[in-house]
């Protein structure tokens, strides 16, 4: 099942393999800076890669301070410009966001930190070693960003 079909089947407000979904996550984060206040400022460029049998969705997330400043689709040859990449099958991302929707935030082994640590379903990759280290420094900010899916994927959330 690809991302779109899986999202529809779950009754989510959006498909997760779309720019619109990530823009909605950015809006949610930017409207609630208080959620990231304790964690503090972040500065990172992360690329999310969702692999489907016949396609690959790649989106770059640019964080600055307490905000996600930019969302952009990137080509395969632009991946090296990010600090790090999180790469997994669309199904793995569905499980992760499903956990967020179910519990209102990621739990247990479905936090992005755990997933990247285990490296089975979603892998942490990068070409710049210091960029990869940024994942450990800032993944709590990324988690707050992903946890916004509890709101933006809710069936009642308008597109």
């Amino acid at each position: 099942m690809n991302g779109d079909a899986a999202s529809t089947a779950k009754g989510w407000a959006r498909a997760i393999d779309t720019v619109g979904f990530f823009v909605a996550l950015a809006d949610e984060m930017n409207e609630h800076p208080e959620r990231c206040q304790v964690i503090g400022d972040a500065e990172m460029d992360a690329v999310i890669v969702m692999r489907a049998p016949d396609s690959e969705f790649r989106v770059r997330l640019r964080f600055n301070g307490l905000r996600c400043e930019d969302i952009a689709v990137v080509r395969a040859d632009e991946l090296q410009h990010a600090d790090f990449r999180l790469v997994g099958d669309a199904s793995a991302w569905h499980v992760m966001f499903g956990d967020v929707v179910e519990h209102q935030r990621a739990t247990g082994l479905q936090t992005i930190n755990s997933l990247a640590l285990m490296g089975d379903a979603i892998m942490l990759e990068g070409d710049d070693p210091m960029g990869i280290d940024k994942f450990s420094r800032f993944n709590q900010t990324l988690q707050e960003f992903f946890d916004g899916a509890a709101v933006v994927l809710a069936p009642s959330c308008s597109v």
Binding site: G108, L109, G126, D128, S136
Partner: protein, 373 residues
Amino acid sequence: MNVERTTYDSLPNATPMGAPLDWKWLRGARSEWGVRPKPSPRGLTMLDIAVGEYGEVPEHPAHRSMAPRGADIDPDSVDMGYILNNKSDVWSDNVRELYEEAVARQWSATRDIPWGELEELPDDVEHAMCQLCTLLTEVEMIAADLPAKWMWRMNHDFIEAKMFLCTQIMDEARHAEVFRKRALSNGGGLLVSRAGPTSLLRTIMEAKTYTQASALLHLLGEGFVLDIFRMGELIAPSDVEKRMFRMCMQDEARHVAYGTMHLRYAVEQDPDVAEEIHEALDHGERILVDFGAAPDVSTALAVLLAGGVDHLEDKGFPLALEMNKKQFTSYLARCERAGISRLERTTIPLELLGIDPDDVRRAGGVFAKSGVS
């Protein structure tokens, strides 16, 4: 601002009591008067003010006093006895960024951990968490003591590096605080402290040079602890511990990032330093392997990974072994990143742990840099 200097010719040459006056600071001390850094969207950062001469960090500072870099310094300034007078002794290219990050991402072990949500845990799990917290309370303060031992020996022109190390000291105080609080807060308390960890700490403290100390502390010791914190989701029995490990993780990652880049900078500036670092790590790795295998550490982690003593054999120990493999892989990859490959030299039992050297090189970015796929 008008950059043209006023001469202030009419100022008195003596006080009303007759003591001579010196108006050099007003009449034109050598400085970049008129240079005005622009704040970035987040405020005025250390990167923003690293402009003109103020942003230039000398390789070999001319002075050994506490005079601020960029000031008009009296040639008779007192020598403070600094012994780390080469930039490569302490510097890393990310140190200003890391300082700002550290200041922005401070947190409170009193306020930001949901202590009120602690619930009674099964006896074995509480014991294991308390044992781990006992160990962490013990080892975390080394990362405060060590920079404190060396900072007053660092030339003051490297102020940004010293400022970053100050944040590290504060971070480690908070880590010691949070783990001590966790050990005491749920009816358990501090448990066993043995000689093994202390031997590792002593090795770090007794390193002959700061760069050796940084290799042992930032790369080896803190890298190892960082991976324990990253395991937080797997070993934490409740949201309280998860939060605790997550917050500590981001602090620890900064320290490791500083150390990795410092070692890289040091080796780039003087390749002979690599052997000095290798010698320290030869010794440190042996002690760390013993430390990791010490029963108090390995069993407490295994119990936490298993969620109790009932699944130690089928879950706890296998997961602990997998985590060990990741810890050592991460450490060796950081060495690759720092430009001090340990793969041909380490005595860590790679085969026994199931570590593939190619995985280490890949994780260290070596393949990416060399174009090998």
